[in-house]
């Protein structure tokens, strides 16, 4: 029973981790400082999280094309107007679609991107648990019959195990 619990616990932990990972990601980011002039670093901080369709698969801050340079200038412009990071992203999403974001939001069409792996994990995990329990149930009788596994308490036993393993290879 305890083993089952451990197994279940492990699985829950894993799923919990995954979900909390997703949840953590949704945390807001601090608004850019507005008191000082906008620097390239301020622009890059936002551009890093965006993609310009001219350079597919290359983040906006790294892309060298004229179109992307213009986008970065636009980000600088919007920043100097005092817009926040999320407002700026929204500005680009409205004009060019969700493809500009490196991290699509977990809502609407893109919800499944986040949910599918979790569903896969849950279904797969449940299947593995059922399978392992069934495989064990199949064997309960023979376990009782068989001698219990050797205890590996000290180096002497381990040495035997090393030798035994070696012979098996």
């Amino acid at each position: 029973m305890r083993r089952k619990l451990i197994l279940l616990f492990g699985l829950m932990l894993m799923i919990g981790l995954l979900i909390s990972g997703v949840a953590l990601a949704q945390d807001g980011t601090p608004p850019p400082p507005t008191a000082r002039p906008v620097t390239s670093d301020d622009v890059n901080r936002i551009a890093r999280q965006m993609y310009c369709p001219i350079c597919e698969n290359e983040p906006l801050d790294a892309c060298r094309t004229a179109a992307c340079a213009q986008w970065r200038a636009q980000i600088g412009q919007l920043l100097s107007e005092g817009q926040t990071e999320s407002q700026i992203k929204q500005y680009f999403v409205e004009r060019y679609g969700l493809r500009v974001l490196a991290e699509p939001p977990a809502s609407g069409v893109t919800l499944w991107l986040w949910v599918l792996p979790v569903i896969g994990l849950v279904i797969g995990g449940a299947y593995v648990v059922i399978l392992m329990r069934r495989m064990r149930a199949r064997n309960t009788a023979s376990v009782k019959a068989a001698a219990s596994a050797p205890k590996l308490s000290d180096a002497g036993d381990y040495a035997q195990r090393v030798e035994r393993d070696l012979k098996n290879f």
């Binding site: 310009c52 369709p53 001219i54 094309t65 004229a66 179109a67 340079a69 213009q70 986008w71 200038a73 636009q74 412009q77 409205e94 004009r95 060019y96 679609g97 199949r138 098996n168």
Partner: protein, 193 residues
């Protein structure tokens, strides 16, 4: 070890699987291959060529660039009965600047003879786009290609690209490099006959 073999008699008696469970993986795989085929064929769709019906679209125009259309948003279907030039451009595009003056000149020449010009601004920042339009004194209808929907429908491979659609909505001219006034005039004369 490796040659130990599981006797069939020894193997556990499994209940006969239902056909659904048996063939579900096959169905999934077939569906996936069909999906790939779809992906391949849409990817390999090419630009509409002369003689093909022009893909329809709706474009919201820039505020002060109604051109000779006079309404926004405008859809291509609304313009049936007119000759329509569709020009994909962007302010960051160097070859676009080569053709800008020719396009505007051709527009001046034909705007009162039933020809509509429609500039589709591709992946551009609005401020830069407006500066570009001012710089070349362009006053024909222009609008941003929001979400790259229009350019997607025409499968453009870059800017500039120009399409001319006749009164019946059929594409009669395409060019994927800068155009000049003379070649545009020749096409318009033919289509306005």
């Amino acid at each position: 070890m490796s040659e130990s073999e599981v006797d069939e008699t020894n193997a556990e008696e499994q209940p006969a699987r239902s056909p659904l469970r048996r063939y579900l993986p096959l169905g999934l795989v077939v569906a996936f291959v069909a999906f790939l085929a779809w992906g391949l064929f849409t990817r390999n769709e090419t630009q509409p060529t002369s003689g093909a019906a022009a893909p329809d679209f709706t474009l919201a125009l820039f505020n002060d660039y109604p051109g000779n259309i006079g309404k926004t948003p405008v859809s291509l279907a609304d313009l049936r009965g007119k000759v329509v030039l569709i020009n994909f451009w962007a302010s960051w595009c160097i070859p676009c600047a080569q053709e800008a003056a020719d396009l505007q000149a051709a527009y001046q020449q034909y705007k009162d003879r039933g020809v509509v010009f429609l500039g589709v601004d591709y992946l551009d920042a609005e401020t830069d786009a407006r500066n570009y339009l001012k710089r070349f004194n362009i006053d024909y209808a222009n609008g941003p290609d929001l979400g790259t929907v229009v350019s997607g429908r025409y499968h453009i491979t870059g800017v500039p690209e120009t399409y001319i659609v006749d009164k019946a909505g059929i594409i009669q001219f395409t060019k994927i490099s800068p155009v000049n006034q003379a070649e545009l005039a020749a096409v318009f004369e033919r289509l306005l006959k």
